[in-house]
Amino acid sequence: MSGLRTVSASAGSGKSYDSIMKILLIGDSGVGKSCLLVRFVDDKFNPSFITTIGIDFKIKTVDINGKKIKLQLWDTAGQERFRTITTAYYRGAMGIILVYDVTDERTFANIRQWFKTVNEHANDDAQLLLVGNKSDMETRTVTLEQGETLAKELGIPFVESSAKNDDNVNEIFFTLAKLIQEKIDNDKLAGGTSGKDSSININSGGSGSKSGCC
């Protein structure tokens, strides 16, 4: 799917990018999803950044291996009740960032639940990444090792970050983008899939109506 998007985007009327990646940030309320995003997109930090209600959307274009990639970043509300809404946006996400707060064990424990939600609602080929945020805080209750162990168990890469000190924030998004890009390239090399992908993509606009009437 993403493979074709790369083609269609560059073939389009002089677009300023080579491809688009849809990335989603999920995790419990207050772990710092919006702060990570704002740090990455606007290079700002505000300790009392506003609550996200429902879903928010930002764009940032980055350069990866000489390719201009437009990152479409979807920030979600953490409160459980918003899951009905936020899961509607999982579809087609190429990258999903699961965030927890290293100073709050509960948010770490809930990662398994989030992982389950991802498996239920996201595309199978979505690239996941586990992030332990607020690594600058001295009141940490979740160790680096615990994070690594969980990541290993879930089979996904892991980073600790601090939106406040701007530690590893860019790395999160760049790592994920690179992983996604690799996947796309691998799929291309494997061949055959692009044909299948294109048919999905062409129909993507209409697929909604299809599911709507049956």
Partner: protein, 552 residues
């Protein structure tokens, strides 16, 4: 409107009466856009309106107050606004002394959502620059929310409720000198205590302080108040919560999502082509969720010393018109206002998004975010809604929301209705029951997806099932349909079915499959409730005829 003054206050002396009658007539037309008053400059108009409102407040002329709240400038200034909101809201929700809910005030058990509340409160009032004041505003905000939740433990907190309450906090606290710590904090016994513990005011300690002294923190409803009146604030928030926000405070977001679906309907009425263009027949209008849940206070943050801020005027309008349809209509108007820009952005981005859910959300957000700061557009929207107040008759869309919804009961736009708190609690309980029923049936549907269909399919394809039985079932079903057809009840059922199907379609697109039970269950439900078919048929057709003009 005309006979009202006399009826309201028969004891008035004749001169006072004529004055208030005067105000009454004035209020009706003077403050709209095209009135004669436009000869005067804005400040003069404001001054005039201020004195009119003072008079009306003095006379406790409720109906005229509503009219004034809906016209230009709203309630003009913060001190007036505070009084007017209290006057209106305490009238709309009556709490009789000695009722169960006043004695229940001291409920001290911690509410399950308090942790979430403190997370959100820590992220409120971000625009306040003075750190000390910000901290105090946050404390007050948290205290009010927690008090409401503990008083009505059945309500669930949602992210965004804190935005709504912060509007009330700003209005009620403004103008009070809360540099004076004692003045501000001695408001309700609790704080002076917690303040002693944290004289350094460290934010991290705050939550600990609250939970350690929870038992007595929230139970003291002190009667004597210095500075501002917290009781009045609490009464207003209580009334607004129960009458206007009830739908949002269930165990899930199903009911607010139902409300959101009115927005596409309003847009469709205005421009069917635009509605189609945005695929609103296929996708859920989730893009509007934050605006609706917070009555725009998430987008338009309230701040002190800005009485003209449009968020206050929006609240003036909502409270005066007693209508939660207003925010929905306003949102639809906003979208319509930006129609051309939206279409342009839609076309430009059509290749940039993975699916139409993302595309429409992305485009609308992209177009609307700059409007957050643009006073002009909001003024325009407000004027439009003012000049055309809730002509959207909610009864047309009855099928889209639950029958206990605020939109059909306590905030339906029916002016001058008031409720006893006990009645609203009953409504709330019924609504909660309906919500949990819906939740379980949804979960059930998820577990046993298309079970019925599969059973039928298996039955009919299985060889062990004798042919004669298959035929007889077929004939039986045919007979039922014939009977219904000849009654004309199938015809009568069609419009309702269409509504249900539409609901189903919307949700199935977003992968929610919510409507599933409703498509088939509800007509059957009706059937079972009224065993005598003719009566049932007439009932259905009656309900149809009322919804016929809705243009579905």
């Amino acid at each position: 409107m005309d006979t009202l003054v006399g009826a309201e206050s028969p004891s008035l002396s004749s001169s006072e009466e004529s004055l208030s009658l005067h105000c009454d007539i004035l209020a009706d037309s003077l403050f709209d856009e095209k009135s004669l008053l436009n000869f005067f400059n804005e400040q003069e108009q404001r001054d005039f309106k201020t004195s009119v409102i003072r008079n009306i407040l003095h006379d406790r002329n409720y109906k005229t107050l509503c009219t004034l709240g809906m016209s230009n400038f709203g309630f003009v200034s913060t001190p007036l606004r505070k009084e007017c909101w209290f006057e209106l809201l305490s009238r709309q929700l009556r709490v009789s002394q000695g009722s169960g809910y006043t004695t229940n005030k001291g409920c001290t058990r911690e509410h399950r959502d308090e942790n979430q509340v403190s997370l959100d409160v820590q992220r409120s009032f971000t625009s306040v620059t003075d750190e000390g004041r910000k901290e105090k505003l946050r404390k007050l905000l948290e205290r009010i929310i927690v008090k409401i939740l503990r008083r009505y433990p059945k309500l669930s907190y949602y992210q965004g409720y804190h935005d709504v309450v912060s509007v009330f906090v700003i209005v009620f606290i403004e103008g009070h000198d809360y540099d004076d710590e004692c003045n501000f904090l001695s408001l309700s016994g609790m704080t002076s205590k917690s303040d002693d513990n944290h004289s350094n005011g460290a934010a991290e300690d705050k939550s600990n302080g609250v939970s350690s002294s929870t038992t007595d923190l929230y139970e003291n409803e002190t009667t004597s108040k210095i500075g501002f009146d917290e009781d009045k604030l609490l009464r207003c928030v209580e009334a607004f919560t129960l009458l206007y926000l009830r739908d949002f405070m269930m165990d899930s977001l199903d009911f607010p999502i139902d409300q959101l679906r009115l927005i596409p309907e309003f847009i469709k009425k205005n421009s069917k082509a635009f509605y189609k263009k945005l695929n609103l027949d296929k996708i859920e209008p989730f893009f509007a969720i934050s605006s609706i849940l917070t009555v725009f206070s998430h987008e338009l943050k309230p701040s002190e010393n800005e009485p003209d801020s449009l968020i206050f005027q929006i609240f003036d309008f909502v409270i005066s018109s007693q209508s939660m349809v207003v925010p929905l209509a306003m949102y639809a108007t906003l979208i319509m206002e930006k129609k051309d820009t939206i279409i342009e952005a839609y076309n430009a981005n059509i290749d940039n998004f993975e699916n139409s859910v993302d595309l429409v959300h992305g485009v609308i957000q992209q177009v609307l975010v700059p409007t957050r700061c643009a006073e002009k557009i909001w003024k325009q929207i407000l004027e439009e809604v003012r000049s055309n107040p809730s002509r959207e008759h909610i009864s047309k869309y009855r099928g889209l929301v639950n029958r206990y919804s605020t939109l059909l009961t306590t905030a339906s736009g029916q002016l001058h209705t008031s409720y006893e708190v006990e009645d609203v609690i009953k409504l709330l309980e019924k609504e909660i029951a309906l919500n949990s029923k819906r939740k379980t049936s949804k979960a059930h549907a998820k577990l046993h997806k298309t079970n019925t269909m599969r059973t039928f399919a298996r039955l009919f394809s299985s060889r062990s099932f004798p042919l004669i039985c298959k035929v007889s079932i077929f004939v039986g079903m045919l007979a039922i349909f014939m009977k219904l057809y000849r009654d004309g009840s199938i015809k009568a059922m069609l419009p309702t079915l269409r509504i249900y199907l539409k609901k189903y379609q919307c949700s199935s697109f977003a992968g929610l499959y919510r409507g599933l039970n409703y498509v088939w269950l509800d007509p059957l439900h009706e059937l079972l409730k009224n065993p005598s078919l003719p009566r049932w048929a007439s009932k259905v057709s009656r309900s149809i005829s009322s919804s016929k003009d809705s243009d579905f």
